[in-house]
């Protein structure tokens, strides 16, 4: 989140797209409700009418996979109706920049596409520079080569009629939503976008999120209270886990994972990964301090701080690629912690088969999961499986101590309330013991390949690790005296400081502020004394933009920060997300987006598919792309293996999407009787018209088929799902919760037996949310 949960209450309009917040993040509704009570309209964009839609003022039922068509429509509407925040745009974004004269967009493709390689040459996705190297600009935003005019032309095609034809949202409903949300472009008004995996689980997932950024910058909604782009992260600590490098492409603190080809040496890594300007120019300090935390005394300037010890990635290391490597027996062992890929993965027929190609598999979980039991899945002959499986009992969140980081980047400490039962142990215990035992196994080895383990700086005690010591390392300390650094501004790239995760640095200087619990009696809900928000306890990112270029707040009633000329300081309700004494008129004083080299919000920003989000159809779609002749994201590669067939709309004419329910957590809670009684069986939601066509009645058992598999589910026939009117055609949809699997006290078929193994071109996140299927009565 750029903002945080409580801040949602400050919004004047709430756009929920790609999230069923009432069911997946129920407590958020407390804050949404407060905004609603003040008159803020809530717009829910979702294929299905859900518990969130029931509380919303406007429900837009969009066909799965058409988010960019919808968002593009809002972008066009905001520009056409002149609802954009011009002063904000000119001052804080790259809207005035002049783009390379040869930059173009023609029929679904940006300039530079190489048909042979399927990649772009991005040479024209750049700005025209003056003699000083700075981009040429037109602050009036009128120059035809300006980013703003390019943007305006790009989205000119996204008319309300086009939005309706592509998404299936009736034009009047779209216009109602557009009017309600784009009204927040007025100075002093705030609109927030809440999204989750309904946005990201697409082959255009990254561009879906980008489209949110473009709209919010146009409306001046970033950096202000009640605004922002707010990813509703899963579970209690998904934010924390990605902060700590859970993603396959990153190390802790969003430092890029070194790749063999690009980063053979420390010098090449720092050279390639460090921008010349912006806050990321400090990256070498964070990276070297991380190496120092990991290899301690052994990490010295002479040996590149043990950079060579760090494993280097080669090829595609994403989740999808990992399972493909398993299937090909290129990957032989797997440790699964806090995940159940045999239910939650894509194209499960293939992924469960891939698990059977492993030599060994370790699963740590609270219960026997489908992953630990894959060898007994329906249709699998256990005798044919050679994989050795170890199931290790894990402890629950009540049985361990440490921090969790919520979606709003708030780091909050939790205490252990009881000891784990039986042989159950915490994940920290497991990792600590694994490392200590590995170290003992390698003692005496003279082989250089064993040095990374032998030299690993590891001092958290025996058995259960000392979480306080871990927390101190995460904050960072001076190597010489082990004293905590004040925050990451103290970190150095010379080996004199160690820091486990620079973005969190500052949370534990004199005290562990994750334990702080001072609620704010009034103000804007920042609660600066409650927990600690990274970075540096800032609650709203880019908050320089909460004030006008001259330093006066856009909204005097909801001040985040304002410039106090007498004190020559920024003052207000939050910690400045920039230098607190940098005057508005000083050089760089109007650059809120400090992580970017130019300090400006990027309307124009290249991802691999292009600098502006463009609608492409899902990999399985029942219709032609109406916006261009390019049907699918041209940068996405589908593994053409037999197990990954794509369905044709003549055979599989129904659009399917998957989702979660309030009553279940992943696949784990199907062991809990109180939750199982509320949601006891796998079901399929469908509209009345489809049910009538298929002769299906409420409660009937049905079979759902895709090109990759088939499952059984009980029918939930409801008015809440309706067919989409797409360009004159009627397209039916079904919805499938994905919680079920073949173990637990409530068992059922897994929805992901149907989904394709294809991912977003930037992140490889699988396309769970839009695929084709057919339904028939009977099991």
């Amino acid at each position: 989140m750029t903002n945080h949960w409580i801040d949602i209450a400050n919004s004047d309009a709430i756009l929920i797209i790609g999230s069923n917040v009432a069911e997946t993040h129920p407590i958020a509704c407390k804050w949404i409700g407060k905004a609603q009570d003040r008159g803020a309209p809530v717009i829910h964009v979702d294929p299905r009418f859900t518990r969130t839609s029931a509380k919303a003022d406007i429900h837009c039922a969009l066909r799965p996979g058409t988010d960019i068509a919808f968002m593009g429509g809002l972008i066009r509407y905001a520009i056409e109706q002149n609802l954009i925040s011009r002063e904000y745009l000119a001052a804080y974004t790259n809207a005035p920049y002049l783009v390379h004269p040869k930059f173009a967009f023609t029929d679904g493709l940006f300039s530079g596409f190489n048909q042979a390689t399927g990649r772009y040459d991005q040479a024209t996705w750049t700005f025209q520079a003056g003699p000083d190297g700075q981009p040429l600009t037109d602050p009036t935003l009128q120059h035809p080569q300006s980013v703003f005019q390019h943007l305006k032309r790009h989205y000119a095609r996204y008319t309300p009629e086009m939005v309706a034809a592509v998404t299936g949202i009736p034009k009047e409903t779209f216009l109602k939503a557009a009017k309600a949300f784009c009204a927040t472009g007025a100075p002093g008004k705030a609109g927030t976008i809440l999204y989750a995996m309904g946005t990201t689980h697409h082959t255009v997932g990254s561009q879906n999120v980008r489209s949110h950024a473009v709209l919010q910058l146009l409306l001046g909604n970033i950096g202000i209270a009640g605004g922002g782009i707010n990813a509703l992260r899963g579970h209690a600590n998904v934010q924390g886990s990605t902060d700590f490098g859970l993603l396959y492409g990153s190390l802790p603190g969003y430092l890029a994972l070194p790749r063999q080809q690009d980063h053979p040496t420390l010098a090449s890594y720092l050279e390639k990964e460090t921008p010349k300007a912006g806050f990321w120019a400090n990256k070498p300090k964070f990276f070297v301090s991380l190496l120092k935390a990991w290899w301690g005394d052994k990490a010295a300037r002479e040996n590149d701080f043990c950079y060579d010890y760090l494993p280097k990635a080669s090829g595609d290391c994403s989740y999808l690629a990992m399972f493909e490597a398993m299937l090909a027996r290129k990957l032989r062992g797997l440790i699964v912690i806090g995940q159940n890929p045999a239910v939650s993965g894509a194209n499960l027929g293939m992924e469960r088969k891939a698990l059977g190609q492993l030599d060994w598999l370790v699963v740590r979980d609270l219960f026997p999961t489908e992953t630990a039991s894959f060898w007994s899945a329906p249709g699998v002959d256990p005798a044919a499986i050679k994989t050795e499986v170890f199931l290790l009992p894990a402890s629950t969140y009540l049985e361990k101590e440490g921090s969790v980081t919520n979606s709003g980047r708030w780091i909050q400490w939790r205490y252990r309330v009881t000891e784990p039962l039986g042989a159950a142990r915490s994940d920290g215990w497991f990792i600590n013991n694994l490392v200590l035992r590995l170290k003992r196994l390698y003692v005496g080895s003279l082989q250089p390949k064993d040095r990374p383990i032998l030299d690993l700086h590891w001092g958290y005690g025996e058995d259960r690790p000392d979480v306080d010591r871990i927390a101190r390392e995460v904050n960072g300390y001076y190597w010489v005296d082990r004293k905590q650094v004040r925050n990451f501004t103290a970190l150095k790239d010379d080996g004199s400081t160690a820091c486990g995760n620079w973005i969190m640095s500052g949370f534990y200087f004199e005290e562990n502020r994750a334990k702080s619990r001072k609620a704010e009696p009034e103000g804007i809900g920042a609660n600066l004394g409650w927990g600690y928000a990274w970075p540096l306890n800032r609650r709203i990112l880019y908050n320089r933009a909460s004030a006008r270029p001259n330093g006066d707040p856009w909204n005097p009633d909801r001040v985040v920060l304002r410039w106090d000329p007498a004190a020559a300081q920024w003052v207000g309700n939050d910690i400045p997300d920039f230098r607190a004494d940098l005057a508005p008129t000083a050089p760089g004083g109007g650059n809120p987006f400090i992580m970017r080299a130019d300090g400006k919000g990027a309307l124009f920003s290249p991802l691999v598919e292009g600098p502006f989000p463009e609608h492409y159809e899902p990999f399985e779609s029942p219709v032609r792309n109406l916006l261009s002749t390019v049907q699918r994201n041209p940068l996405v590669r589908l593994n053409p293996a037999d197990w990954n067939r794509l369905g044709d709309a003549t055979q599989f004419p129904i659009v399917a999407t998957t989702y979660r329910l309030a009553e279940h957590h992943h696949a784990t809670t199907r062991y809990l009787t109180w939750l199982v009684e509320m949601m006891p069986n796998m079901f399929v939601e469908m509209g009345r018209e489809l049910a009538e066509e298929k002769g299906i009645k409420n409660g009937d058992v049905c079979t759902i088929l895709s090109a990759r598999g088939q499952i059984r589910a009980v029918a939930c026939v409801t008015d809440r799902l309706k067919p989409f009117a797409i360009n004159g055609r009627k397209i039916h949809q079904i919805g499938l919760p994905w919680h079920w699997g073949f173990v637990g006290i409530s068992r059922g078929d897994s929805a992901n037996l149907l989904t394709p193994h294809v991912g977003d071109a930037n992140t490889q996140i699988p396309e769970f949310k839009a695929f084709l299927c057919d339904v028939r009565r009977g099991g």
């Binding site: 407390k30 518990r51 009787t673 109180w674 009684e677 006891p680 409660g699 009980v714 008015d719």
Partner: protein, 232 residues
């Protein structure tokens, strides 16, 4: 302790059903064996082991589609019929408002089951006694809110002085829901579970015409059975 009540603000309920689970957890009630029959509502009805339940109702009108949620449970009536008809003096009415069936005294005669205008008490086939929500009498007498209120995620449930909750409910209705209804102010002599409804009680499966007091309500109840178990 003053007269207390629970306010169920339907306008804030998102049907997350944490209240259902919290009730079972605190009161040590077992999960029932259910099956999905085409509605999110499950278990289908209140029972001797399900003391509170969120009901789901789908309806369409000129304004569009509605999915209405209402938490159902014992209303803890002032003129509690269960109390009036119990031949074994098994029902206790507390000054705070709680109406509790004493399991030691209940003989399972079913009179409370047959006469409750809200169809709340149910016979437990295992114990041959009737059971229902106690208003978490063991919690509230010790200064804790009922378990469902404690766990409510969206702020839909509140527990406190009945007079204060009525005042707050009225203020909220007047400001935000001009067509809203406060249910329970006079029904059955006054309920200790109050609802703020954005529309007519019938849309939420709540019987009307019970505001005349206990005797009249009881008579009405004997003549009429209300369909209370909305599902959809």
């Amino acid at each position: 302790m003053a007269e207390m009540a629970m306010l169920i603000d339907v306008t804030r309920c998102t049907a997350c059903r944490a209240c259902q689970v919290a009730c079972k957890e605190w009161n040590r009630l077992p999960g029932e064996t259910t099956s999905f029959t085409g509605s999110y509502q499950n278990p289908p009805d209140l029972s001797a082991t399900t003391w509170t339940l969120v009901q789901f109702r789908e309806a369409a009108d000129g304004e569009g589609l509605h999915w209405r949620f209402r938490k159902a449970q014992c209303m803890h009536c002032t003129d509690a019929i269960c109390h009036a008809v119990c031949p074994n003096d098994a029902v206790t009415k507390y000054p705070e408002g709680n109406v509790v069936i004493n399991q030691d005294r209940c003989q399972g005669c079913l009179r409370c089951v047959e006469n409750c205008p809200f169809q709340v008490p149910h016979l437990n086939p295992a114990t041959k006694k009737t059971a229902k929500c106690t208003g978490c009498v063991d919690r509230v007498m010790n200064g804790l809110p009922p378990a469902c209120v404690k766990t409510c995620t969206s702020g839909a449930l509140q527990y406190g002085s009945r007079a204060r909750l009525l005042r707050e409910a009225r203020a909220r209705r007047d400001k935000l829901f001009p067509r809203g209804v406060i249910y329970g102010e006079r029904e059955m002599g006054g309920l200790h579970v109050l609802y703020l409804l954005p529309g007519p009680p019938a849309r939420y499966g709540l019987p009307e015409g019970l505001a005349g007091g206990g005797a009249l309500g009881a008579a009405l109840q004997r003549m009429t059975r209300f369909a209370l178990s909305g599902r959809g």
